[in-house]
Structures are given as structure tokens and as C-alpha cells.
């Protein structure tokens, strides 16, 4: 589904990704862990197409297409989704309109008919209920005044309505209370299917207790330095990154 080969990316001439390779197959859940500043969010943003990062070398293939050739919104149309570590507040734009525009944009990209306002409302309410988000929050401006945990939950609502092939979730577990973590994990597990891939970026074992990864990777200084199964996360929890770095 996703194949990253020897990816190099920099920002303002500062190298951040330094030859990163990773392969994610359909039906797989991968977790990337690694110290602060390792470049995890940079990887996520580069995959999503943020133009502040420059790819100098390497390739990324997503479902057989050259991902780096595509504009950010086209990547979403192809089935990619990025859950932000720091979701952005957009005053003046209602959450509901935002998500409906997003869904219909993706559908238009795929040559599908737009969903009606009624059908959309039904679908989004069901998802909000599944993620135990107060439906009133759908009417508010995008992320404005949301608490840290509410913002993350809002990311999950967006993921569920867009139903991506590959979801990259950057620290979606950070800032969540214990109950919220379980709810968000349930949301991720609902997205976990034989035809979807999930890439979790996290600092904590806790999330991985709920969403059992198939593979765990350790990223240090812009590279994957170690890969293994779920036991790797447990080992890191015990001894930190000192041994792998």
C-alpha cells in the first residue's frame, strides 16, 4: 500500500529525514516511536504534502502512484489521511461545513456524487456518537476553543467520515484522558480493516495496548533504526531509546 524508499527531506536547508525507508501493507498497523525531534511529525507532514518540507531524495509510492507528485488534496482523494499532532483552529468556519466540504471534495476527486446535507448529517452524527463527541461541537468553529483532547477526538471524527485507505495518526493519543483514549482507540480499531493501513506515531505503550500494532519501528535522527513486533514497544518502555540510538 505504502512504500517509502530512502526518503530525505529538509526544511530551510536543515536535513530532517535522512534516508528513511518503510513499507506498510494493507491490513497492517504500524507504530513509530522515537525521541522528541526525531522527525516523526516531519515524516507525517511530508507524506501529507506540506510544502514547507523539501524532499531532496528518495521515493514514496502509495497504491501504485508516485505520492510525491500529488498535491495535498489529491493525496487525500487517493485515500491518505493525516491526523495532526496539533490540529489547527479555523475561526469563522463551522466544523460541520468543513467536514461536508472535505467529504464532497474527496468524492468529487473520485468522480462520485456529492452527499446530500441530510445524508451527511446522519452519517456525521453517527460518527460523533461512536466517538462520544457532543454533537454541539460539530456546529462550532473548527477546533476553536476545543480542549486538547477534544481536538484529537475531532481529528478522529474527520478520519472516520473520510474513511481513508491509510491513516497516519500523529500522537493522536497525547492529551487524552483515560476514557477518551479508549474511545479514540475504538475509533482507530473501527478503521482497521483488511483493506486499510494505519500508521500510529506515539510516545506511549498505552495506546498500543488498545490498538495492537503488527509492527513497531524506532525512529531516531531521521531514520528508522530498529523494527520489530509489539514486544519492541514494551522493551522501549522499559529501557528508553538509549540502547537503540
Amino acid at each position: 500500500m505504502l512504500q517509502i524508499d530512502n526518503l530525505h527531506a529538509d526544511i530551510d536547508g536543515k536535513d530532517i529525514l535522512k534516508g528513511l525507508s518503510l513499507k506498510i501493507g494493507a491490513g497492517e498497523v504500524h507504530a513509530i516511536m522515537g525521541p522528541n525531534g526525531a522527525g516523526k511529525s516531519t515524516l507525517a507532514a511530508t507524506l501529507a504534502g506540506r510544502d514547507t518540507y523539501t524532499v531532496s531524495k528518495g521515493s514514496v509510492t502509495f497504491q501504485g502512484k508516485d505520492l510525491l507528485e500529488l498535491e495535498p488534496h489529491e493525496r487525500v482523494g487517493e485515500g491518505l489521511f493525516l491526523g495532526f499532532q496539533y490540529p489547527v483552529e479555523i475561526p469563522g468556519v463551522s466544523n460541520l461545513n468543513f467536514m461536508r466540504t472535505a467529504l464532497n471534495s474527496v468524492r468529487a476527486y473520485r468522480g462520485e456524487e456529492p452527499v446530500s446535507a441530510g445524508d451527511f448529517l446522519k452519517a456525521i452524527r453517527a460518527i460523533a456518537a461512536e466517538l462520544k463527541m457532543d454533537p454541539e461541537m460539530l456546529k462550532r468553529y473548527v477546533n476553536v476553543g476545543f480542549s486538547g483532547g477534544e481536538k484529537k477526538r475531532n481529528e478522529m471524527v474527520q478520519m472516520r467520515i473520510l474513511d481513508p485507505k491509510l491513516a497516519i495518526l500523529d500522537e493522536t493519543d497525547s492529551g487524552l484522558d483515560i476514557d477518551a483514549l479508549r474511545i479514540v482507540a475504538d475509533g482507530i480499531n473501527a478503521q482497521r480493516r483488511a483493506d486499510t493501513g494505519i500508521l500510529l506515531i506515539t510516545h506511549y505503550q498505552r495506546l498500543l495496548d488498545y490498538v495492537k500494532p503488527d509492527f513497531v519501528h524506532v525512529m531516531v535522527a531521521g531514520r528508522i533504526v530498529k523494527s520489530g513486533g509489539p514486544e519492541l514497544a514494551h522493551a522501549l518502555e522499559q529501557s528508553g531509546y538509549a540502547d537503540v540510538a
Partner: protein
């Protein structure tokens, strides 16, 4: 009705003979104005049009009037679709009331609408009030005034249908087209007045609107230089707000080559409220200028100004907003917010907020920011599958929404939103962003 000789391509407004000639021709129109006209013409001769050295006019582009001869021949731009269905409509074509295009219908008791000419004939003593001499533009208005609307609403009377005053300018005469409107509300009266402009590219429409909003009255006042507007438009409003009265003004500058909307609002009664808002969407080559002065002369009153501006291409959009709080006007709440977004590096936004506060117990805030569209927000939207064009449109709409949400009339708000969408469809391609 005497009409002006249609002298087509006259030279630029540097030649005072044209002004003199026009003022003489107009002498038998509203004879009550008598010597005021010639006095104003003489003073205009001495002053000329304001230049950029005049602080209040520093951002206004009057250059086309001064240097360029009128290029286009007279043409009728037609009437815009009415903003609120069923409005009272007063149409002035080149300064003359066009009865066939207007529609008044049956007015409720206590409401009178008349032409300025008829009003003056009945109240000749009022002629002196019409003389204004602050600057060349005001003086020309006094010298070459052709007509206007007088709207009066008695005490305790509410005029439910909005009054739409449409200024149509078909003539490209450099001396411009000058009108004066008066809105006289009684105590606890209510009315909505919408002024609009349509014109040809070389036209100049110069309007002064005086409004009295006495005790507990409410006036909603919209001024719209929209889609069909072209050429130079200068509009000044002079408003007095009494005790517990409310003045709600919104100006839209979307069309026009050079548009200036002035508001001078005096809050004269306790509990008086003034909301003076505006939106400018300036495209390539357009100059938009909003100038406001809100003066608080008494304590315990409130004013708010919310202005938003978007500039594309080589646009210049400016805001000069002054709040004056007199020495004894304690417990005033005055807020002013101006924000501009530049879609193109070639565009210019100017902000000049000024506070002149002589009282000590007041709460005043003002903020002015000029920036580009938020790159993080743009990326967030595109990362959800929304195209960059749509993402820009969404952000601009949200930005302009700060002004729109303050409009209480649903029809007006929806039409304004539609006008914004139309404008954006031509300005969000991002082609000029690199």
C-alpha cells in the same frame, strides 16, 4: 426638469469653468440654494480637490478625476437586482430622480419620502444646512447638488420596508454627479436605508447622506458599491445618534475603480450606540478607502467598528478610523477592529486607527492587522481533500464573515454572502501567489 448639456468628453477636473458653468445651469433647480452654490463654487476654485497631502484623503485616489479626460461615452448600466424583495426604491439617474424606475407604493402613516427639491421648496430655511465646506469634494457637492431623497419617519413609527436608493451614473462628466440625502427619524422610529451605486468607468458619483437618529430610534444604513459599480464613488454619511438610539451601518466596497466611504458619527445621547462596519474586496487596480470618525460627546454610550479588507492584484485598500471621546464622556465603550488580508504581494493595505480620548474612565480597544492567509489553516483544509482554491475561498469567506454576521437582515446578509462568493471565484486561483 432642466437637464445638463451632455458634453461628453470634457477634459479633466482642473478647469474651473466647467464647475462654474454647471453651477449656473443648476441655479434654477432648487432656487432656494441661491448664493450657496456660487459661494461653494468660489471656495472650490480656491481649494481644488483634496490631494494626498490632506491627511483625511491621503489614501483616496482622486487622480482619475484630475488628470484623465472622460474616456467612455454615456451608457446606461441598468439597475441592480433589489437587495430586499419589496423594498421602496428611489432611483437617481445622473443625479435626477427617475420616477419611472422608482417605486414607492403606499407608505404607512407617519412616513414621508420626498425629493430634496420639493422638500426645500417647502422648507426654504433648511437650505443653509445643505452648505458644506470642509474640503473640495464637499464644496463641489454644495455647488453642484442636483437633488436627493428626504426620508422622514415620525415618532413611534417603524418603516418595515427598506428604502433602497440607487445611484445610476451614465454620464462621464468630470464634474461628477452630486446628491444629498436626508434621513430624519422621530423618537423610537425605525428604518433601513440601503444606498447603492452603479455606473460607467469614468463616472464620478458624490453623495452626502445626513441622518438624525434621535432618542430610542434605530437606523440601519447600508452602503454598497457592489458588482455593477464602476468609476469613482465618494459617499459621506453624517449621523447624529441620540439617547438609547442605535445606528447600524455596514459598507461594502466590492466594485468601483476608486471608492471612498466616509462616516462621521456623533453620539450625542446617553445609551446611544453606533456600529460602523465595513468590508472591502479590492481587485487589481481598485482603490478602496474607508474613513470613519466616531465621536462620543456624552457618557455611557457605546460604539463598535468592525472592518475587514481583502486585496488582490495591485489593489489598495485602506482604513482610517478615529474614535474621539470628549472630556466629560465617561464610561464609554468603544471598540475598533480592522483586519486586512493580502492575496497578492503587489496589493497594499493601509491601516490608520486613531484614538483621541480625553475622558479617563473609558474602555476603548483597537486592533489593526494586515497579513496573508494563514498557511497552517490552508494546509489543514487541503489535508482534508479540499482544493487550494476552495480552501482560500473558505478562509476568505470566514474572514469576511466577521462583518456579515453582524448584519441582522437575512436577505441582506445572504445577498452579501453571494456577492462575496462571486468575487472570490475570480480571485482565489492563486495564480499570482508565487
Amino acid at each position: 426638469m432642466p437637464t445638463l448639456p451632455e458634453t461628453e468628453t470634457m477634459t479633466a477636473l482642473t478647469d474651473i469653468t466647467a464647475v462654474r458653468e454647471d453651477s449656473r445651469t443648476l441655479a434654477d433647480q432648487m432656487p432656494e440654494l441661491g448664493d450657496h452654490r456660487s459661494e461653494a463654487a468660489t471656495r472650490f476654485e480656491a481649494l481644488g480637490l483634496p490631494t494626498r497631502k490632506n491627511e483625511a484623503w491621503r489614501y483616496t485616489n482622486l487622480r482619475p478625476l484630475k488628470t484623465e479626460p472622460a474616456k467612455d461615452s454615456a451608457q446606461d448600466p441598468g439597475l441592480p437586482v433589489e437587495l430586499v424583495p419589496g423594498s421602496i426604491r428611489l432611483v437617481f439617474v445622473d443625479g435626477h430622480y427617475a420616477e419611472d424606475r422608482s417605486r414607492i407604493g403606499t407608505l404607512p402613516d407617519g412616513v414621508r419620502i420626498s425629493r430634496l427639491g420639493n422638500y426645500l421648496a417647502a422648507n426654504p430655511a433648511r437650505a443653509r444646512d445643505l452648505f458644506m465646506g470642509d474640503d473640495g469634494v464637499a464644496l463641489l457637492n454644495s455647488a453642484l447638488l442636483r437633488d436627493g431623497a428626504v426620508i422622514s419617519v415620525a415618532n413611534n413609527t417603524s418603516l418595515a420596508r427598506p428604502v433602497e436608493i440607487v445611484h445610476v451614473t451614465t454620464s462621464a462628466r468630470r464634474t461628477g454627479c452630486h446628491l444629498r440625502h436626508r434621513i430624519e427619524l422621530g423618537e423610537r422610529a425605525e428604518a433601513t436605508v440601503i444606498e447603492r451605486w452603479v455606473g460607467t468607468p469614468s463616472a464620478w458619483a458624490n453623495t452626502v447622506t445626513e441622518a438624525r437618529v434621535p432618542e430610542a430610534a434605530t437606523l440601519t444604513h447600508l452602503r454598497i458599491a457592489g458588482d455593477g459599480a464602476a468609476g469613482t464613488i465618494t459617499s459621506a454619511a453624517r449621523v447624529s445618534v441620540g439617547a438609547e438610539a442605535t445606528y447600524r451601518a455596514t459598507s461594502f466596497m466590492i466594485g468601483g475603480t476608486s471608492v471612498r466611504i466616509d462616516s462621521l458619527v456623533n453620539v450625542l445621547g446617553e445609551g446611544g450606540e453606533a456600529h460602523v462596519d465595513g468590508l472591502s474586496l479590492a481587485g487589481d487596480g481598485q482603490t478602496h478607502d474607508a474613513v470613519t470618525v466616531v465621536r462620543h460627546q456624552v457618557p455611557e454610550a457605546r460604539s463598535e467598528q468592525v472592518y475587514r479588507a481583502v486585496g488582490d492584484g495591485r489593489a489598495v485598500t485602506s482604513f482610517q478610523g478615529k474614535v474621539i471621546v470628549d472630556k466629560d464622556a465617561q464610561k464609554i465603550e468603544a471598540d475598533q477592529s480592522f483586519k486586512a488580508i493580502i492575496l497578492d504581494r503587489k496589493a497594499t493595505a493601509n491601516a490608520k486607527p486613531e484614538l483621541e480620548i480625553l475622558a479617563d474612565d473609558v474602555v476603548c480597544s483597537h486592533g489593526a492587522t494586515i497579513g496573508e492567509l494563514d498557511a497552517n489553516a490552508l494546509f489543514y483544509l487541503t489535508s482534508r481533500g479540499i482544493s487550494p482554491e476552495d480552501a482560500r475561498a473558505i478562509l476568505i469567506e470566514a474572514f469576511a464573515g466577521a462583518v456579515l454576521t453582524r448584519i441582522e437582515n437575512d436577505d441582506v446578509r445572504e445577498q452579501a454572502a453571494a456577492a462575496i462568493s462571486t468575487w472570490m471565484s475570480g480571485h482565489v486561483d492563486g495564480a499570482s501567489h508565487a
